[in-house]
Symmetry: C3
Subunit: 671 residues, 3 copies
């Protein structure tokens, strides 16, 4: 993938001056300059304002905004305005409205209420995108395109007849014949065989569970439908403005779309990032989000939406405490974000989000939140040289959206499986020890890493076996867990015992599994092979009962009828090692186990620091930038690695042990 | 508002003799006389019995009931029978059936299953009401009209195309142009602008949240539709029986209707009152309900439905223990109820409510419940002179249904906001200290009170600023809380900081707010200005962070980053004071704080009594009636205010300290 | 009822070789022989495979399976394949799809998605059943017919217009006139009277509760509709294969169907039995299920589906520990099961149930689960002589599905009533003491028992009063509880006080009842009359407040206003006694109380054994078989009744005290 580097270190927010009297926009220009804002996202939801009916266009207000921005030296992340359809369209063309699994049609009245497969939605949105692109292609304010918005988030699936027909065609393309599809999906189960394509139904309301392979392909299909929506907008934009970079904003915590598949579509990844600012929040959550976003293209990305302070959609919404907005933005940069935009510039006075925080709150300029924005924005230019630098990681965690989908669609063995939580369970222990992690898809080259972890890899796709066997045989360390290697890419079980194609590598087979009730534990009793890790550790959620081939046990279960049988194993494979974790160990165990496994491969922490002090290195042209971030709400002492550093924001020289205030961050360059 | 006084102190219940063999009715007459019953509510749900098809009327059975009642000296609260539509109507005119937000039409088979806006429902119900009114206009049993029943309770909204069209017309009347509506509602947010009226949709199923101003006006519109249903029935009744008083029964604990707007429609307010008789229930709950009902017209009202013992619709339904039915009825009278009816006279043997208690239980006359009814009914005439007396209150709490609706529709800042609970939070501490409270709407004259409290007054309507500023400047004390003065009557935020129009009066602005997670606390640390209140008190739910103007701090926060900033303030304004409570303090604090504020204004308890002993004064022509009610399930001693009293029920003379049995009440007149 | 005895002691499982390559079937034959399998259930869901479109039949694959089975000496429990409709049928005849209470039609895509009343479904399913029956009528593999599958479980009700019309006809047949129905159902309540049959609606979405008598008859009607589905299939089968026994599988824990009404339809009862194998599960749960199934025809039955180890549909699914599958199968036999089939033979690789356990797991033959199956299957022939033996019980519990339905449909007095739990509450204490219990319907002859218990007999049907009065007057002991005798078979309350027709027998009336809040207790204070039971015992859920006639109190309440009034009574009636338990006592009380009541009647435990050791006797031709089962997960000592026994599985001779391993069972014959 060609590396894309932003031409600028952008700072700004979502902006809707058209919701206010015009004089407010002029006041905004003053405040933006005061805060150091150099970009705003506009035009995301304004289709109805641009096109009050099918035959009328009203671009004057948008021209005015673009011109005002340009006059004030501020760039636009220009939305394609396709994220919210006008009311007249729903009335004139009801087909643009999505349909739910009960067959009930949605109504106009919110946002994203469109059927992604409606030909009329496509046609009208293309006219809109082309019109906007042609109008502003040469405009000096135009910095980047913002395609649609958080696609599929609110309409996860459409079940209209339009989409059903398209799904049938998609399946026909994929399988050729009904018979082949019946076989690959196992539709003979419960006699759901199809003999004519028009017998195939999307997974709508029916008496009991729908075939899991169908659900998986329905999800893949829907992902592709939404990709098509984006691709077609992008095609128009590239034709008219080949040099303007294009993005669309992702959301890390949901599984609706396969973002790895999306990565090639756009020039750079951007994300809406809203961790809960309650003080008990784990700082690894944002780190994991950032690592995923960076991993999608294996490149820097952009934090396109953060909250200046609180959001409005949690049960109860707490503020970002003083300094946290700055700390979390710096954390974003440490993990690869090269620009910082916030939702929203000015607090709205109408609608659903009027109590979502804004860079300019309802009370206005004289406010903590705006003051912090000014500080952050004005010191940001000092970090410009970091833009484009690479994050340094020797450990990778495999993440696969198809796997996420299907392992959670499957009825049983336990509804307590949570793939994202499993990723966190393996990511956080590394994060806490300042071992930086890349997130990689199944088909990425693993050989640049020293340690690769694939938690809960239920689905093993073609090619992964070969890739990971090569990686281990050449000296890498691989870790996988229970309920891995169970099914292929069609959700067909590998017969003969899990982990199926990974059995040779892991040196074992799973004879049976036990899904544990909530609050029931088992334990790992270490057998002394790993000197660093002795004693007994709690485990929960699941126990695989193993038949070992070439694998050696490192721990056995402490209870239940399989007490004394292997719970953790290692298999020597070529020059490397493959570990199998057959249950879900307690957090403390994983911290020490992963530390040991990393140390064996020569992977060590970026900085040995107190709890909740994070350290990450980005480097560019061989020059490292050291980010040190104190996530504690109290001051700590941190000993820097040997050398003398310059603080990019203060130009101060630092060496040895430094004092860090509560939620302080420093970004250092070695001198 | 002209004062209406009932001609009688009524006692009775809901009555459906047509569900039993005729001989049971004759037995009922004997039992009613034994119990002292002088009124029954009849004909509420009997449309289908009166009109078996569109062309046939069968009034004979109702004539028989009316005649039998008259012959036995019992009056009728005569229902208009419009609360339940006949099955033939649903079949013949499906338009009378309501439609839900998914577009799914309801079916016949329960009660209240009608579309309030159906022209056919209106037409047929008017024929029915006119027929009944004409038939019984001169009937000696006719004492009052009971219009429909608990309107809107079961069909909160109708989303039929009939109603959608009406809503569009309503909006057109309200806003004149789409553009004006777009602007006032802020429909530009998420691009939901409307350019033609028929583009406007009721808030039906859509992909995400609907505009909050639209929701508010949709609620107002629906309230008006139901008012129209009642008004049209009333118009017919007034035309035919101008001298017969009219009511319809309300429910205090729901926010479906704006009862202040309804108050003028009817001659007197009546209510269905069903507090949970579990012994842990707070006796303030019923008191608040009664205070609201009295406040609607600022006049006495009627307890039109109480349960003789248990209801049947809670998770588990406990009995009213011996004496509680009498105690709670006397409590109702203390707060303004001038008659007492129960649901239901005789336990039904069919249908949904057969295990709801009745004055005559399934076992019949030989039962505790019936014996208690006889005692209560036979002593009731002793209280006749109380009818029409006014409740004495110097403190008022502002209640506003529009505010209730919109503060709970708003997504964020926290879903934990509960307006009714906030009213309780301020009402109960006063109740517990025997400081009687009126409940008043925003537009009532405040100057007759010494203390006015407006909890969570999120919406400030035009005129309230002037009214409350006048009240305070002339010497009154005003208290409001966090998240007040945030929006105007269109749900548009007041820019420049909350509490918006109340900022001058309160002498402060809100810089930011923090919605607290469940189980997270902050505290108020008193700064010594209020001598009576020192120390630290827990607070929860919310913290406003304030910028003080002329206000003086009385307490500061005890923790979080805004520790030490004001949490409770007072502002001298003219001759009065305005207090701002920026967080939700613990109950004990509010008790003491409100006591102190009242004492400063010379407002003192009716009686200083032990816990859970309530005292209220009603007075008529200068003569006070003192109600003392022991809500404890054990005996207590109560010291009466100076003087000698006569117990209206026993004619005993009382003075000084009296003993009160468990759940005993006394109603006293000074001699 | 004529007694049916299976010709064989069958062992096997659900089998779908058509989902695998043909060579797997040949391997299966080897494994089945190894395990001792002699029957498989096939063809349950394979309609779509047999009939790919309306004009085409493809029986070759099923011929092959049947022939292969026959060749290998394995019998077929042959499904009629009507449990899952083909996709083409839904497309061609949408009427076969059921409709929900909102009027939304289901879609094809799962199983059991058919409208039981669709004439087209009936027609096509009859063609199918006839075709299968004619084809295999003489086939040597055919051992029994498996009609449809777990009928109604997934489509509890159909609300299509087809069914609505049929329901109207059913009501017309039942009531003759609308007026009669109005009266019996009490449709005058809330004015829901019907004057023409087509005004009657099934209980679809409406504004509030639907008439409870209508709900009850709607349930009865639906039960009959599903019976009709089965009866029509059975009629065809009996016509073509008069000598082949017929069954269909039931599910004990649901109340969808009235299985007592079904019992006559089929030759023997079979059941899908899936107790949760977590170690805290009460072994009485399976015992109750088995006792119900045996009680349906008062004959042995068949465990047609058990799980070899875990299922896949609980929140988290644990394994059957080693030995438990065998223990639970032996428990099934102890209670009357004469054959043992498992779901499923070979673990599927597709669809919803791929992580449900199988006799042959994914890993294959070399597995604990398969080894246990081999052990169990190979020792099973030793138990052949038990087949057809009767279970010996002197105590009966009355169970009535109509009662179950209606007591839980009724709004109030408390939603905490759970009829099945009440049956358990009275069954488990007997089970724990090895007092074997029959489950009987209301209309079975009670006089063969010594003690009859009817918990929560809300509905008393015609004839029961006479039956139970005869039983008691002749010396029997009867026990019933609170909220019994409240309504008749139309759900009409018996006026004059519960327990209505049982009042004479019980010698009391219920004056009022108190439904208790969760976590609130009262108590029974014994008055000394029962010497064995003194002291105070907790009670919960409900308290009836009684007026005693001839009954004598045994215990009084310990608290609340009815403290000191009777909570437990006995009435001498003829030669027998009738006990009334007016509240829900704690488990320990019921254990001792039931023990005492049984002892008074000379009913004693089969074996006095340690906790969780179960003993049951079946006998044939006067010869008893003693089943002793250790449900503990540890070894115990058990003292056998006097005599010498032979262990049918080991041929070992046993006498006196024996050691039983964890989860061990022995089946003994006296020598």
């Amino acid at each position: 993938m060609k590396k894309f580097v932003l031409p600028n270190l952008y700072f700004g927010g979502d902006y809707t001056p058209e919701h206010f009297p015009r004089e407010v926009m002029l006041e905004d220009m003053r405040l933006m300059k005061k805060a150091g804002v150099n970009i705003v996202t506009i035009n995301v939801f304004s289709w109805a304002q641009l096109q009050p009916n099918e035959d009328t266009w009203t671009f004057e207000w948008l021209d005015d905004i673009m011109d005002t921005l340009a006059k004030n030296g501020i760039f636009a992340d220009l939305g394609t305005a396709t994220a919210s359809t006008p009311a007249w369209m729903a009335k004139k063309y009801p087909e643009i409205l999505p349909v739910d699994a009960n067959g009930i049609r949605y109504n106009h009245g919110s946002r994203q209420t469109f059927n992604p497969n409606s030909p009329k939605y496509r046609e009208l949105s293309h006219i809109l995108v082309r019109t906007i692109a042609e109008r502003y292609q040469k405009h000096p304010a135009l910095a980047m395109w913002h395609v649609n918005n958080e696609l599929s988030q609110l309409v996860n699936y459409d079940y209209s007849e339009i989409t059903a027909r398209k799904f049938r065609d998609w399946c026909k393309d994929r399988f050729g014949t009904c018979e082949n599809m019946n076989r690959k999906w196992g539709l003979h189960f419960w006699g759901n065989n199809i003999y004519e394509w028009d017998e195939l139904m999307p997974p709508m309301k029916t008496a009991h569970q729908v075939n899991t392979s169908l659900l998986l392909d329905w999800k893949r299909f829907t992902n592709e439908c939404y990709m098509e929506v984006a691709r077609e907008e992008i095609k128009i934009l590239r034709e008219i403005t080949p040099d303007i970079p294009i993005t669309t904003n992702f959301l890390y915590e949901f599984k609706m779309l396969d973002y790895f598949a999306w990565a090639d579509l756009i020039d750079f990844i951007s994300v809406s990032s809203f961790p809960d600012p309650k003080i008990t929040n784990h700082p690894g959550e944002a780190a994991l989000s950032h690592d995923i976003m960076r991993g999608l293209k294996d490149q820097p990305f952009v934090l396109l939406e953060q909250a200046p302070s609180q959001v409005n959609w949690r049960l109860a919404n707490v503020n970002k405490k003083p300094g946290v907005m700055r700390l979390w933005s710096h954390q974003g940069m440490a993990h690869g974000s090269d620009s910082f935009l916030f939702f929203q510039w000015r607090a709205s006075v109408h609608g659903s989000e009027k109590f979502h925080s804004a860079m300019v709150p309802h009370i206005g300029e004289n406010s903590r939140v705006f003051r912090e924005m000014c500080q952050f924005g004005n010191e940001l230019p000092g970090l410009k040289e970091v833009v484009g630098a690479d994050v340094q990681a020797e450990v990778a965690i495999v993440m696969d959206y198809n796997n996420w989908w299907t392992v959670e669609f499957t009825p049983g063995p336990t509804a307590l499986l949570d793939y994202l939580q499993m990723l966190k369970d393996y990511h956080y222990p590394l994060f806490e020890q300042n071992i930086t992690t890349d997130i990689v898809p199944c088909d990425r080259d693993l050989n640049r890493y020293k340690v690769v972890i694939a938690p809960l890899l239920y689905m093993v796709k073609p090619g992964f076996k070969e890739s990971v066997e090569k990686f281990v045989s050449e000296g890498g360390t691989f870790i996988t867990t229970f309920f891995s290697g169970a099914v292929n890419e069609f959700d067909e079980v590998f017969e003969g015992g899990y982990p199926g194609p990974l059995s040779d590598l892991m040196g074992l087979k799973v004879e049976e599994f036990e899904a544990m009730k909530p609050y029931v534990n088992n334990s790992l009793v270490m057998n002394g092979t790993l000197e660093e890790l002795t004693g007994e550790f709690e485990s929960r959620l699941w126990c695989d009962i193993l038949q070992l081939g070439t694998a050696q046990p490192l721990a056995v279960y402490g209870s239940d009828f399989f007490k004394g049988t292997p719970a953790l194993t290692v298999n020597e494979f070529g020059k490397g090692k493959a570990y199998y974790v057959a249950t879900m160990p307690e957090h403390g165990f994983l911290r020490n186990f992963l530390k040991k496994v990393c140390a064996d491969q020569g992977v060590s922490p970026v900085v040995e620091a107190p709890d909740n002090v994070e350290a990450v290195v980005r480097s560019k042209d061989g020059e490292p930038f050291l980010f040190v971030m104190n996530h504690n709400y109290e001051a700590v002492e941190v000993t820097l690695p040997e050398g003398t550093y310059i603080d990019l924001l203060t130009q101060e020289k630092l060496t040895g042990t430094i004092s860090m205030e509560s939620v302080q961050s420093v970004i250092l360059k070695k001198v």
